[in-house]
């Protein structure tokens, strides 16, 4: 399996050929057809590098139907490869697929015969979907489909192999050029009314934080009374959660009611500006963890 690491497609193909021939030679009839192997290798050489091994294995899997590769030997090959770590370990997807392959073996062995085919097809479709997703993210997969295929195939009779192969041989997803996807804007807005706060943002349902005291009355006029009237703790808690999801976001729109007292507006800005209990940002913009220090004050209700 270490041959898969070869950066040279032709060499890789030859190594695969040698491996497959030795594997097939060790089995009883029916054996792999040399012509099928050659066809597979030719197709692989003509394909983009990322798809080569996949195509080889798809063809060989089909060509070697009924050989010992589909039986216990396949299982041993997979488990040994994992044990040797003689596989690509640079991708969590790879490890997942290896584990998934052996899981499939176990799953199928537990199923009654009449349910194996449907389960295998479903599972194979899911595996394929997951692999395409990983490829779209930039992962260069190769052996995953093979391992899945042989794992699935062990539980199937030869007449059902075509269903699996049809899935495996669908065109693979084209890996897109790396792009920088702009993060979704948070559009955080906090309305301050005589009944409390209402927090709205792009991806969450509005959060209402009612006054802690009826009518948000501030008496006597000191900062403790202000903080006792409005749910500033709740406001900061919501702000911190939103900041966790959008760490780069710094903007907030504050919409105070026209009759609101200045001190409440300022304290709201203070609360939304930073979390004193958090670590200070590297740029020194905030003394604690910066939350949303850039404020747009909207005109609000009259």
């Amino acid at each position: 399996m270490s041959a898969l690491r070869s950066p040279f497609p032709a060499l890789r193909s030859l190594l695969w050929l040698a491996w497959m021939l030795s594997a097939c030679a060790a089995t009883s009839a029916p054996t792999c057809d040399d012509a099928e192997i050659i066809t597979a290798l030719a197709a692989a050489d003509a394909a983009p590098a990322d798809n080569q091994v996949r195509i080889v294995m798809g063809w060989l899997d089909l060509a070697c139907t009924g050989t010992e590769l589909r039986g216990e030997r396949a299982s041993v090959e997979i488990r040994e490869a994992i044990a040797r770590e003689d596989v690509r370990k640079d991708s969590s997807a790879w490890n997942t697929a290896c584990i998934g392959g052996t899981d499939v073996l176990d799953e199928l062995s537990d199923l009654p015969d009449e349910k194996r085919a449907a389960h295998a097809v479903d599972r194979c479709g899911l595996e394929r979907l997951g692999i395409d997703t990983e490829i779209a993210r930039g992962w260069q997969g190769d052996l995953v489909l093979y391992i899945t295929a042989v794992g699935l195939a062990q539980g199937l009779d030869a007449s059902r192999q075509g269903m699996i192969m049809d899935i495996l041989r669908r065109p693979v997803a084209v890996r897109p050029e790396p792009t920088t996807v702009p993060p979704e804007e948070l559009n955080l807005a906090v309305a301050i009314t005589p009944s409390g706060f209402r927090v709205t943002a792009s991806e969450v349902d509005p959060v209402d934080l009612p006054c802690k005291q009826k009518g948000c009355t501030i008496e006597p006029r000191d900062i403790q009374s202000v903080r006792a009237a409005y749910d500033f703790e709740g406001l900061r808690r919501v702000a911190k959660k939103l900041k966790d999801r959008h760490p780069a976001e710094k903007n907030v729109i504050i919409v105070p009611h026209g009759d609101l007292e200045y001190v409440v507006v300022v304290e709201s800005m203070n609360v939304l500006r930073e979390d004193p209990s958090g670590p200070a940002d590297a740029d020194g913009e905030c003394e604690g963890r910066c939350l949303f220090p850039y404020v747009v004050l909207a005109g609000g209700a009259p």
């Binding site: 006029r221 000191d222 900062i223 609101l260 007292e261 300022v266 747009v296 909207a298 609000g300």
Partner: protein, 126 residues
């Protein structure tokens, strides 16, 4: 005309000491008291307190623009230099209603003074 948005780069605090000695061209100090609005120590607008709550007199107000304040702030623009936008330090009593401050900020914005620091007077420093 509502809602109207004012862009503020907020530096906030309660009764923070003002930066003494800062060049006047870099900062404008607007104070809202119970009965007046002053700019850099000079009373510019007299507020209506007849209802017990400070309000801007209708005669001074055009939409959200406080005309005497606008004229004064507009005059300050000629005194600024270096192309930097002065920061307005807006100091007000804690009970000052937002509609008054909204008008002050809107007027300052019309005078191309759109960056603010906020100070609440009459509240103890923590």
């Amino acid at each position: 005309m509502r809602p109207m948005f004012l862009i503020l780069w907020a530096n906030l605090g309660f009764a923070d000491p003002l930066e003494d000695g800062k060049d006047a061209v870099d900062a404008v100090h607007v104070v809202v008291t119970a009965d007046a609005i002053a700019v850099d120590g000079k009373k510019v607008v007299t507020l209506d307190t007849s209802s017990g709550i400070s309000r801007i007199k209708e005669t001074d107000l055009k939409a959200h623009l406080i005309e005497p304040l606008f004229d004064h702030l507009n005059g300050l623009r000629g005194e600024t230099s270096g192309g930097q936008t002065p920061v307005v330090t807006l100091e007000a009593l804690p009970e000052t209603r937002f509609h008054v401050l909204r008008a002050v900020m809107s007027t300052a914005g019309q005078a191309e003074l759109g960056a603010f620091k906020f100070v609440v007077t009459g509240m103890p420093v923590e």
